[in-house]
Amino acid sequence: MNKKEELERWAQLLRYDVVRMISNANSGHPGGSLSAADIAACLYFNEMNIRPDEPDWPDRDRFILSKGHAAPVLYAALARKGYFSIETLKTLRTAGSMLQGHPDIHTPGVDMTTGCLGQGLSAGCGMALSARLDKKSYRVYVMMGCGEMNEGQVWESVMSAAHFKLDNILVILDYNQLQFDGSVREVLNPGSMKKRWEGFNWNVIEINGHDINEILSSFKKAKETKDIPTVIIADTIKGRGVKFIEKDYMWHSLMDNKKFTEYAEQMREELKNADSFYADRLW
């Protein structure tokens, strides 16, 4: 199995975990978790320099899920990397669980509390400035969503990262074009997202956010870019992988758990029969 094939399988497994977790919790946000799965797989299983057995390792790369409602895909990646057990995923959103509805720094592997939209990149700038001050080489990865592009603070932080020349920050915009109440154009037309970021002096790379090779090569290009921060605008499909919710903004959050739970079972059967990779990893 080559790297691409392996990462595709991890992404598919993260999707399965996301569906299972949300179905189990009977609440959560499947659409934006599923659109981000391929990128999350590439980050956690290839790109980031991290130590799951030492979550607070000072030199680790940082990841901030600014679109915090996609917490299930982050938790799935952390569990699959070994930060905590797969069993823990069953406790999502329940009292006493380490897996809060939106990410909380007290969970091993979570580098920043998020969920209130539009603030993750600001925190990322603080981390990137600290890295520079301490002469550390760690990088800061911030995943943002399209709905939060409405927030004014996003553009404050976009200006800051460029002003301070934070080339140790990489923003990945999971641009699935849908937000809670509809398409980004219907809710608050952003115009050209590419031109926006370019206007603030960012290096902009546009990719298909479900193509593993494109994701990996964009990460590489970002690392090679000096003195200006890079944003990867990833063209993605909300709900990717669960056919009946794809591109449906109504499924930003869970709509019909009976249907969703039936799908989780169906997905389990399909994966079990698909490949030996999945065999002992399903729950």
Partner: protein, 320 residues
């Protein structure tokens, strides 16, 4: 740097100077500013430690969350702006990104209360203490003078977790000598008395002392406490005093709801109910004008504190 008693100095000046001393001693200290460094006095730190100083422009929400990110990486982040902006423009950032993760972000805004008198309501933070006090895990301070500012600033840097330290734009008299010790969460008994307890903070502490002096000419003995820490509140010092005087007047440059008056009333209501009079703004904004005149107009002058004490002593007969 120390300050002579009797001199008048804005506590923001002391902050700017003490921050430089702190930066010298502690390399983890980083300072964030929102384009008002000449006013908050962080320009001093910026000149001395340019590599640890970040002016993020007029963007307080971003400023607060950047400070949180730096604190996540082991820095002690100082955030400078005005009280209205720190507590309201960036309120959610404080709550969710600073307090919820319990980070070492020290928010030190100038322009607390109506000390930015002539600037008017837009720049007068008269609700900030209440907002900050309501946030779980916040520590909320207001030093009474420049010496207290320096001591509490150093204590805040050592303190585990977020701190809100409110400063004044205008001058306040130096009432402490440089030897006085300050501990976060421990009020200071400034004057002993037996008839009434005046609890004040910040710029109103010197007013409370003036009121106590005035009362003594009428044979009324007022105890004065500087409650420089509103949260965590020093219940012991209140109880010890109130068991003796059996009535309290709170004095603050702030709305009477949720601030010092609120905190003391809540504590006494649960622990030792006695009459309480609260001096401060009562459901009103102030306006542009000279500081002393505004205190007079809005019922917060020495004369009003004195009247509050007399009232409060009269009320004693009606309870207990």
């Amino acid at each position: 740097m120390t300050y002579k008693t009797g001199d008048w100095i804005p506590t923001r000046d002391a902050y700017g100077e003490a921050l430089c001393e702190l930066g010298e001693k502690n390399k983890k200290v980083v300072v964030f500013e929102a384009d008002i460094s000449k006013s908050t006095r962080t320009n001093l730190f910026g000149k001395k430690f340019p590599e640890r100083y970040f002016n993020v422009g007029v963007a307080e929400q971003n400023e607060m969350a950047i400070a949180a990110g730096a604190a996540m990486c082991g820095k002690i982040s100082f955030v400078s702006t005005y009280a209205v902006f720190a507590s309201m423009r960036a309120c959610e950032q404080v709550r969710t990104f600073v307090a919820y993760p319990h980070l070492n972000v020290k928010i030190c805004p100038s322009h607390g209360g109506i000390t930015p008198a002539n600037d008017g309501v837009t720049h007068q933070g008269t609700e900030d203490l209440g907002i900050m006090r309501t946030i779980p895990g916040m520590t909320v301070l207001m030093p009474a003078d420049a010496n207290a500012t320096k001591k509490l600033l150093f204590a805040a840097a050592e303190w585990d977790g977020p701190v809100y330290l409110r400063l004044t734009r205008d001058s306040v008299p130096i009432i402490y000598d440089e030897k006085t010790d300050f501990t976060i969460g421990k009020g200071i008994l400034l004057r002993e008395g037996k008839d009434v307890t005046i609890i004040a903070l910040g710029d109103m502490v010197s007013k409370a002392l003036d009121a106590a002096n005035l009362l003594s000419t009428e044979e009324i003995s007022a105890e004065v406490i500087d409650m420089h820490t509103i949260k965590p509140l020093d219940g012991d010092i209140i109880l010890n005093s109130v068991k003796k005087t059996r009535t309290v007047v709170t004095v603050e440059d702030h709305q009477v709801e949720c601030g010092l008056g609120g905190a003391v009333s809540e504590f006494l209501g649960e622990n030792y109910p006695v009459p309480v009079r609260r001096i401060g703004f009562r459901n009103t904004f102030a306006e542009s004008g000279e500081y002393e005149l505004l205190l007079e107009k809005y019922g917060m002058s020495v004369k009003h504190i004195t009247a509050g004490c007399l009232n409060s002593i009269k009320m004693k007969g009606k309870i207990r």
